[in-house]
Every structure is written in C-alpha cells, then in structure tokens.
Symmetry: C2
C-alpha cells in the first residue's frame, strides 16, 4: 500500500504512515458497482490500489455530472468521512474491477485523537485540497457569470 | 474579543483561546478600504470586532461577484493564510468603519506547531467550513447545469 502518494497522507512520517496502514483493510471491487451515493452516512475513506473510481453528482436518473476520476496514487475517495456532518458530498462508482484500501472512520477518529500531530497534518492536507477544489469550482461559476455578462452586454 | 464565536475557533478550550488572543492585535479600518485582493500573499487572518467586511470576486474593473458578508461573530476573513499556497482566494473590502482583530500567520504557525491539539481542532474546523462552501458552490453549478438540460430538452 502506498499511502504517502495520497494527498491526505503527504508529509506524514514513516511511523505515522504505519499507524494508518495498521487500520486499513483491502477490499476487491467490481466494475460498475457503487461505493456510495451522495448524502449517505460517510463511514469509510478509500484509496485505490488497483482500478479506478469515478466521483460524480447524480442530477436525476440517467443524468450525471462527472467530477473526478481517482486512480492508484491519485488521491482518495470519501474524505467527507473526516468532517461533520459525516455525509458523502459526491457519489462514487467503480469503473473497473480493482482493489481498494478501506479506512473506517471508527478506527481513524481515535487514531487522530491519540496522535494530534498526525491529525493536524491530515486535516491541513484536507483543507488545502478542499480550498483547491473550491477555487476551481468558483472559477467555473465565474466563467459562466462572465459569459452571461458578455451576452447581456453585446 | 469573542474568538469562540468564529467557526475556526469553535471547540477550543479556554486556555487554547487565550493562546490565540495573545497573538491577535486590534486594527481600525475605514469604510471602502480594501483588506486584500485575490491572489495576494495571505499573511493575516482577520475577525471582525465592529463593522463589516465583504468577500467578493473581482471579475473585471467594475464587475464583482459578491460571495459573503462577514460581521462580528460571523466567521473570519482570510483563512487562506492557514493553507498553502498561502494566497487569498477572494478579495475583501470593508463596507463600514470598524475594528478588526488581526492574527499574523507568522505568529499562528509556530503556535499550531507547539500545540498540535489546537492545530488539529482549527484545521478540522477549516476543512468543515470549506466542505460546506464547496457543496454550496457545487449546488450552484448543478442548478445551472439542470437549467441547461431543461432548456435543451424542452
């Protein structure tokens, strides 16, 4: 398991990474199976060891907005399990047969409480990631706003 | 100074709040003065003691997208100074004469390193806040997407 390549675990020491590895379990997944749907209680964090997981918004049956594709060493899935209200903010579907590492919130929370230094690094990494996503999404809103302004002006 | 009402400092103990108060200084501000512009190096975090600060995106001269209005006991301004790349992600302008509390990153960073428990709470609060903002902004993108789908369908 190569946790250190996931943005959440960047900057952790070897021993801190071993604490995380110690609570992770391996899970085989099948192509087209759903990991979770937006709004469901967020109980687990997943990293992709093999295969790929698609993050998306289900707008209505048959209509989806793709958000991101997570592959091995390319982030993680379900980071909403780290912050209240502990609800997944996107839906996640496996796009290939593969293997995930699963970290249960019930195991991660006490680890963070026991090791606040680890927790501080992990939460700083999460905040940085969320700020990047927020800036990207605001950029999208701004582009649409500008095209509206242009069409209203000309 | 009532720091505990700011989302960033929620859940801190009295002694942790006193550490934060110990590095905060008071600053009078004038109506219409800019605190910072988007993209500038984020060196300070501000809470509003008196008055109001508007957060906005400057699209082009004379065109702005309002994002939020921060008043006393209603959040803080400049939380980007807590995460890399330490650049303000919005612009901030005072809309009334008032008083701000200023916390310099140069003072906050060592405090967090010295007190990882405090840092972990603060970063968890920041991550939760950013996830809320991200969900709201995605909701906005989704609404625009749906109206596009509707206009394409009917």
């Amino acid at each position: 398991m190569n946790l250190s390549s996931c943005y959440l675990f960047a900057g952790l020491s070897q021993s801190q990474l071993e604490y995380i590895s110690g609570i992770a379990t391996s899970m085989p997944v099948n192509k087209s199976s759903w990991l979770f749907h937006r709004g469901a209680p967020a109980e687990c964090l997943y990293t992709v060891e093999k295969g790929a997981v698609e993050l998306l918004i289900e707008v209505q049956p048959g209509i989806e907005i793709p958000i991101n594709m997570i592959r091995p060493y390319n982030g993680c899935v379900g980071a909403s399990c780290l912050v209240e209200p502990y609800r997944y903010s996107l839906s996640a579907r496996c796009v290939e047969d593969g293997t995930l590492s699963v970290i249960r919130r019930a195991d991660l929370t006490p680890l963070i409480e026991q090791h606040p230094h680890l927790g501080c690094i992990l939460m700083t990494n999460l905040a940085r990631h969320l700020l990047e996503r927020l800036n990207e999404t605001r950029q999208e809103v701004q582009l649409r706003f500008m095209s509206l302004v242009r069409s209203a002006t000309f």
